[in-house]
Symmetry: C2
């Protein structure tokens, strides 16, 4: 379900999608371990689709970064180091920073700004609720993702939006989603994050491109720090298993 939120309008044929989901499930369930070869036949048996759409699914997943092509043929499940995760977070922040700049310089429409403001208001409510219980965390993830997507869209650049989508599709773009709600410290960082969101929004609506960009990058640095902290405290493994990485977006 969490995965579905990020892949709402995934293009592709029905059987190809089924095969993709099967691979994701197998990775989540740990049936395929990092570094291990992903056999076409195994996916065929699991998904019920034939080899052609399975091949298409594997190609797409490899392109997404979830699988690694093997030189002699076929694919292997990838594993990720903490440093790679940090790089991915910074990369995403850089791209979204550029988007924030574009949104500010090109002048986001009043309708877009209103939408973003609405999202921020909803986020406020969810963050408040999170101070009491952790149940609303899925909501936070969804709303946060929406806000970031709204900025990417406000940049009004299909080229950039596409690239951001790709950077997000990196499974490790922000894998701290599911740990972030665990400690009080993390909840506190969500308050900071929400403050950042508001600052970025203000900069965009005031057409301050440079400021919007640097704020967005600073925002991503918070996410990186938060993840680095988790990694150091053992909440995240040095080599995070692919299973845990399907989760999406936070901070």
């Amino acid at each position: 379900m969490a995965a579905a939120a990020g892949t709402e309008e995934r293009g592709g044929s029905p059987q190809t999608i089924r095969a993709q989901l099967a691979v994701r499930e197998m990775l989540m369930a740990g049936e395929i371990r990092p570094g291990e070869r992903v056999s076409e036949l195994a996916i065929v048996e699991r998904s019920g689709a034939s080899r052609t759409p399975v091949r298409a699914a594997l190609m797409a997943l490899a392109d997404e970064g979830l699988l690694d092509p093997i030189p002699t043929g076929g694919y292997a499940a990838r594993s990720f180091s903490v440093r790679e995760v940090l790089d991915a977070i910074e990369l995403r922040g850089t791209l979204e920073g550029l988007a924030a700049r574009f949104a500010a310089e090109r002048g986001a429409s009043a309708a877009r700004l209103a939408d973003m403001r609405a999202t921020l208001t909803q986020l406020d409510a969810v963050v408040d609720a999170l101070q009491c219980n952790g149940d609303a965390f899925e909501d936070y993830v969804a709303l946060n993702g929406r806000f970031h997507a709204q900025i990417a869209a406000a940049a009004d650049s299909a080229v950039l939006e596409r690239q951001i989508e790709r950077a997000q599709s990196l499974p490790f773009a922000s894998p701290n989603a599911f740990v972030a709600a665990q400690s009080a410290q993390k909840r506190q960082s969500l308050l900071f994050a929400q403050e950042h969101h508001r600052c970025v929004f203000d900069a965009i609506s005031q057409r301050q491109g440079t400021r919007a960009e640097s704020l967005m990058r600073e925002h991503s640095r918070l996410a990186a720090q938060s993840f680095a902290l988790s990694a150091r405290s053992g909440e995240a493994l040095a080599h995070v298993p692919g299973a845990a990485l399907i989760r999406l977006t936070a901070i």
Copy 2:
């Protein structure tokens, strides 16, 4: 040949590569016009490969941004506006700016720095030669591409390097390659570009991350201006045909 320089180690099966080349050739030759549907059967007849590898090739090209998926199935040749080209150039500059920062902050190895210095020296010679005749322009494109690739590699981040590769693979990332040599004004801009290259290199070797990043972004702005000028003077079309866009890298 120019295309081959950028796609040296393209992975994939033999027949898939043949099919990809066939599509590129058909786009270059204008046999497929922007917006037009790319028929699988046409590629099959042209390339000699069967439908399975042709499908794989089309998927890869669509992923590269050269083709657009049609909702009901199949792909269409894309066309690009001047603004999209400018966005792509700025995007690439932003990513390479981040790479320059990483290279500076993480400390590129002496060997890497020596390699970059060697490339710069060769570039100097080629730029000098270009002041006399335009024959050496292919060399300039190749060397320039190598320098940029060296920076991407010096960042020592597989995640970022991969993303840069993708941004470069956008066919319109810097399509002014083949027009840049035409006028004396353009040749002059290559001198500026080379000056930028040296500045970026100095910043990296002096471990000045922020300066390296901003210099790289400024460098990309030069490329954007150069292209914008070409576009305004009619050297580039408002909607550049895909044919002209297979060319790679300049400035």
